[in-house]
């Protein structure tokens, strides 16, 4: 199958489907028509797209945690705690890392060992191994919509099982779940895998079943300049819409500077709608998700609450539709359910207090928005021209050429040439542009901001600044100042 943005052949889809459903024994329980009927029986309150649409209209910011453990009963107990004790508006089912790499045999060992030992040996819920019925059991055990969150380059079987299993939202994308999550998988192959997922959802949509899709915004979660994650989010949005997806939540990970973060939240749906219209796609429902600080966290719980609350405040002031919540145990690995619920409560408190407030437009905010728009358009236009109008083809070529380049990504298909660093106000700028197709106006803006920091700190900009920035938050700082 040749790479193209166009909708998958019905025949090709069915051919792959046979193969995908045969990858693990639970695949045989997927029955599309029966699943459509099941979804049609769900109340609106359990459907992600419906609740997101309501929030978007009312200007509400919803809170959603991350969570997943190996065994069904414990996973349900965990989700109920987050719903009842935390007040989560949306629930997740985070998938374990073996399943993310399609290692179902190892996931099975993890399940069995967890049963024996009495605690979860997996860092998430192995939904493929558990199968359709177990997924429905999970979704039926709670009162709010449930989303699959993972990091799986080839999530075709996972999508088949979890969507048939009653989940109404699926995170990920061919770029965002490849570049930060794998080493040796080509972008061409993951775009194809995700076209399958998007086409599957398109088929559900054609039957009147709403399934929301959420490209993973934060990418590597570490000093990613907004224009880069925005370009990826818009591309994944277009790839999804081309396959029939109608409801999209585009994501962005907190950088930490209020003005830059609000500017990023404002511009993300603007860019997506602009390019979808330009390329002639039907209008999709677009909402936004803001990820609280994805970098290192302070180990102290009180300090972690400070970081969490500041993320919540930014989400509220920027009017994100949804915020993904961190926990006071973040620095220590996977949190207890109580800590997870506490993170949601702190977040919701701030969201409630700020729900009637916005950050008003200022010169600085307008400039920041203008820069993000200009930078993202420059990247996207180059992607389209590299692909001779086909954004799927253009994406592969853009990564080859370093026209899109994600900092700190493990993938060998990512150029890895750009170097981001904070400016003196904590906004993420570029220290090295690699092969990003920016003009001199944009480059001068970044250079000037980084140079200002250098002057403030009395040192020349270098990789040491980047290292200092990465360690800074664990020490309570945003900008890694020299010691």
């Amino acid at each position: 199958m040749e790479l193209t943005v166009r909708q998958m052949d019905a025949e090709e889809f069915q051919r792959q489907r046979q193969e995908v459903l045969g990858q693990w024994e639970t695949g045989k329980d997927v029955n599309f028509e029966e699943a459509v009927a099941y979804h049609k029986g769900l109340p609106k309150s359990k459907i992600f797209a419906e609740k997101l649409a309501e929030g978007k209209e009312k200007g509400i910011t919803f809170a959603q945690p991350r969570a997943g453990v190996a065994l069904i009963t414990e996973h349900i107990e965990l989700l109920r705690c987050l719903q009842d004790e935390g007040g989560a508006d949306f629930l997740p089912t985070t998938i374990d890392s073996y399943t993310r790499q399609n290692r179902y045999t190892e996931a099975q060992s993890g399940i069995e060992e967890s049963r024996t030992i009495g605690r979860s040996m997996l860092n998430g819920f192995p939904a493929v191994n558990h199968g359709v019925a177990a997924c429905r059991q999970v979704a039926e055990s709670v009162q709010v919509p449930v989303q699959v969150r993972h990091g799986t380059p080839d999530a075709r079987l996972l999508a088949e099982i979890t969507i048939a299993g009653g989940f109404t939202d699926f995170e990920g994308g061919g770029i965002s779940y490849n570049i930060p999550y794998s080493k040796d998988v080509s972008i061409e192959s993951t775009i194809k895998y995700w076209q399958y997922v998007d086409r599957l959802i398109g088929l559900y949509e054609e039957q009147g079943v709403k399934i929301n899709r959420e490209p993973f915004g934060p990418l590597t979660g570490t000093l990613v300049p907004p224009a880069i994650s925005h370009a990826v989010a818009v591309i994944e949005g277009i790839l999804a819409v081309a396959q029939g997806v109608r409801s999209l939540t585009l994501g962005y990970g907190q950088c930490g500077n209020l003005i830059q973060d609000v500017a990023a939240l404002h511009t993300l749906p603007v860019l997506a709608e602009e390019y979808m219209e330009k390329l002639g796609y039907p209008k999709a429902m677009i909402t936004t998700v803001f990820h609280q600080w994805m970098g290192g966290f302070p180990q102290d719980e009180a300090k972690a609450f400070g970081v969490i609350s500041w993320g919540a405040a930014t989400a509220a002031l920027g009017k994100a539709t949804k915020v993904i919540v961190k926990t006071p145990h973040e620095a220590l690995g996977i949190p207890t359910k109580e800590a997870n619920a506490a993170g949601i409560r702190a977040t919701k408190q701030v969201l409630s207090m700020l729900k009637d407030q916005t950050l008003p437009m200022t010169e600085e905010l307008a400039l920041e928005e203008q820069m993000i728009l200009a930078e993202t358009r420059t990247i996207l236009d180059r992607v389209l021209s590299l692909g001779e109008g086909d954004i799927a083809v253009g994406t592969v070529r853009a990564f080859q050429a370093g026209v899109i380049d994600v900092p700190f990504a493990p993938s060998r298909f990512n150029a890895g040439k750009i170097l981001p660093a904070r400016d003196t106000t904590g906004a993420v700028r570029m220290l090295d542009f690699g092969n990003l197709p920016f003009d001199e106006t944009i480059k001068d803006f970044h250079r000037e901001r980084i140079a200002q920091r250098g002057r403030d700190e009395g040192r020349d900009p270098s990789f040491q600044m980047v290292i200092d920035d990465i360690y800074a938050i664990g020490k309570g700082m945003l900008v890694g100042r020299p010691r």
Binding site: S97, Y98, R100, Q101, R103, E106, S109, G110, E113, R119, S120, M121, L122, N123, G151, P180, Y181, S182, K183, D184, T220, G221, T222, G295, G296, Q299, H329, A331, L332, G333, I334, P335, T336, A339, F408, A409, P410, F463, I467, I470, Y471, G474
Partner: protein, 139 residues
């Protein structure tokens, strides 16, 4: 004094790349020769890289909680391949959930690791330990 060689990698199905880049930079900067096998590294990749480069140390990172399962048997496999005495360091978020670090440390020491580091360890700590364990004089 001969430059010491380290094999650096993130074991198992773990894709955390940021710390790996920082450690690469920090150890290189501290004068070591760093063979970085990156994320998603198998036990075999660690051992093969060590044999090929005649390395002095395996530096194993695990950030995603599956470290206990991924690291089991590494010392035994090293012994099979004739590098049973190689130094083995491990660090990160090694287990699922909040557990007492001392008990985690004991489990990993029992698996044959020489040093075990908790989350949030700065690179200076293993660098100092390496110098000590490898008998290097302070610069």
């Amino acid at each position: 004094m001969k430059q010491k060689t380290l094999v650096l990698g993130v074991i198992g199905s773990d894709v955390h790349a940021v710390g790996n880049r920082i450690l690469d930079y920090a150890f290189t900067h501290a004068g070591f020769k760093v063979i970085n096998i990156g994320v998603l590294a198998t036990q075999e990749e660690f051992i093969n890289a060590a044999i090929e480069t005649n390395a002095d140390v395996l530096l194993v990172s695990s950030l995603y909680g599956h470290g206990e399962m991924d690291c089991r048997g590494l010392r035994e496999k090293c012994q099979e391949k004739g590098i049973g005495d190689i130094l083995m360091y491990v660090g990160g978020n090694l287990v699922v959930g909040k557990q007492d670090f001392e008990s985690v440390k004991e489990r990993f020491l029992a698996m044959g690791f020489n040093r075990v580091y908790p989350p949030g360890t700065m690179p200076e700590v293993p660098i100092k330990d390496l110098r000590e364990d490898l008998g290097m004089s302070e610069e």
